[in-house]
Symmetry: C2
Subunit: 365 residues, 2 copies
């Protein structure tokens, strides 16, 4: 059982083998200009993504649904989702961003007003600063608690799901509170509601998630089939991206600040944090020259791979040089920290103007 509320580092191969997630790389040839995250295998798996490729190629409408749960500060790992979103927005997708204030409330006890504030000031602000176009007319961003269409649909869908299923998927037990118990249905409705007639559905829909969210995806796909006749739902697709490694070598997590570079960090703090990150270096320079470094085990390399180095050629070169012992951690870190500093300078500036748009965006409803 995968528990979506306590993300652990996962064995991705096992997911592919046991849960029917398909390797993403097999699809790459069908995409004209796959973005960095797809090219580099960070998006490693999918379900039914063929439908989305078809829609992109044939310029048919399709939807992307990607929730945000306002529960703390955003770290650089969260950028993965925004990067995908920006790419999909360029492809003309209908973008739906539910703000999971209902989940925040039931799972973490975060108050609705606090969620709203956090969503605007932290999440949406950063999304815009990272490239999301707030003026795109295909952008739908909403608080779960304010969306009556979603909550109505959730309740209707809930009639064809029973307690046993919920327990098997989420591991709920007798002491689970009823709100927590019910909220997965809201998330299912988040994903399926763009296909309602009110939104000119049905249309293919993709949900980019981390593998810890796959239980939701499986439940949503099952439910969508149970209501296929009634609503004409097209079973939604999904993609799965790797987690980002934290500064200490464990998973990056907002609730463990030592592991995380926050998007609200100053350029200096971000630089300093990356400078102290765990690398794939050897015990001594001599040894590293002889054996080479281990880029696959290096937080700094991962930062280049995920975020900092746009050129695949450059990246490969760095990887090779590290492996062959031609470049030491100090030099590599120096390069990366300059990059991250510049990235954070630019981000900080963009964030100033994006805060205003963020507020406007949510006050629509």
């Amino acid at each position: 059982m995968i528990d979506p509320w306590s993300s652990a580092i996962l064995n991705y191969e096992k997911l592919i083998r046991e849960f029917g997630i398909r390797p993403f790389q097999d699809l790459l040839v069908n995409l004209e200009d796959p973005p960095l995250l797809m090219r580099r295998g960070i998006i490693f798996g999918h379900r039914d993504y063929g439908k989305i490729i078809k829609a992109i190629r044939e310029k048919n409408s399709f939807a992307v649904v990607t929730g945000m749960m306002p529960s703390g500060k955003m770290h650089i790992g969260h950028k993965l989702i925004v990067d995908q979103l920006v790419w999909y927005q360029e492809k003309g997708a209908d973008i739906y961003i539910p703000i999971a204030d209902m989940e925040s409330y039931s799972a973490r006890g975060i108050d609705f007003e606090e969620s709203r504030k956090l969503a605007i000031e932290e999440y949406i602000t950063n999304y815009i600063a990272l490239g999301m176009d707030p003026k795109n007319k295909n952008l739908h961003i909403y608080l779960q608690s304010k969306n009556k269409i979603v909550s109505d649909l959730a309740y209707k869908l809930a009639r064809k799901v029973n307690l046993n299923e919920m327990k098997a998927i989420y591991g709920f037990n007798g002491s689970t509170n009823i709100a927590h118990h019910y909220v997965p249905l809201i998330q299912v409705a988040d994903i399926l509601h763009p296909q309602l007639k009110e939104f000119e559905g049905p249309e293919p829909t993709v949900v980019p998630v981390g593998p810890d969210q796959d239980p939701h995806i499986r439940l949503t796909r099952d439910i969508s089939e149970r209501f296929q006749k009634k609503y004409g739902f097209i079973t939604p697709s999904s993609t799965y991206h790797r987690f980002i490694t934290g500064l200490t070598g464990k998973k990056m997590s907002s609730s463990n600040p030592k592991t995380a570079i926050f998007l609200s960090d100053s350029p200096e703090v971000a630089l300093k944090k990356l400078k102290s990150a765990k690398t794939g270096g050897r015990d001594s320079l001599e040894e590293q020259k002889r054996l080479g470094g281990v880029p696959d085990d290096c937080v700094v390399y991962e930062m280049l791979l995920y975020h900092l180095l746009e050129s695949d050629v450059e990246l490969k070169k760095t990887y090779q040089n590290c492996l062959e012992g031609n470049i030491m951690c100090g030099e590599c870190k120096n390069k990366a920290t300059v990059m991250i500093k510049n990235f954070f300078i630019a981000l900080g500036q963009k964030r100033k103007s994006s805060k205003k748009s963020a507020k406007k965006l949510l006050n629509h409803d």
Copy 2:
């Protein structure tokens, strides 16, 4: 465990003994003009009704919440609730009537549009025909599925109730669907929402129910106390009324038409049905003259007691005459059937004009 979805004939004394429901008759002296149903012990029990008596005596605001579940035709037993409602309306109460379309959907699979139609054409129409004042500004009648304040409150409350409690109260099991599982929280919110600031609450609230609904009441009272600090809730009160006996001697039920006189029956049909009802008569006239009848076991007498005979003096006389063998079933039935025919003639006329008001009332939202 009392199951509110499959009403069975209950042993009322046991309820009083084991579940802490208090006898209503002890309170009668504190009421200036108790209505028929209270005077005659049809409302037999209560929880915390002292608060309501105090509000009535001191002319303070209080609320009455009484749901209707649109699941079939209304029978004459349903009149009990409307009679109470009319009395409370005269007392100046804030009246809240949730139409339980969400419950109808999850428990019986009745579609929302069908519920709405049934609510207007059958339930509200009859409520008005039976004396509910549709123009009273303190009347709030709404479809659960359309009331966002209620559904928001339900979700908030759901955080402090867990699976074990729901199972213990309602006997839910693994195959219970999640909508059915969640809907009691909507009902709890139906009862508590008049106490929110939006409605100028808190205020004492009474819920008149049949004893099969007591699990809801207990859950609601518990939850209200858990959120006392946050919302200032006054723990709601309740009253309990006896079920009406069906024509065959078993419980009257819409799903068993042989047992029921429907409010939409023609005067002739109502008369005919009552004429064929089970009485408390003996095997022979001779025996009945000698031993007397058994009015406590007589459907016709119950109809006089609950609905047809306004005068307590007349009623007592009839009871006594039956017991003493002075009046036979034929004569008694003749009187009662004339009364019921007249009642249905008047009701049918009122229903014609009330249908229009019913439609208006619900189209407010």
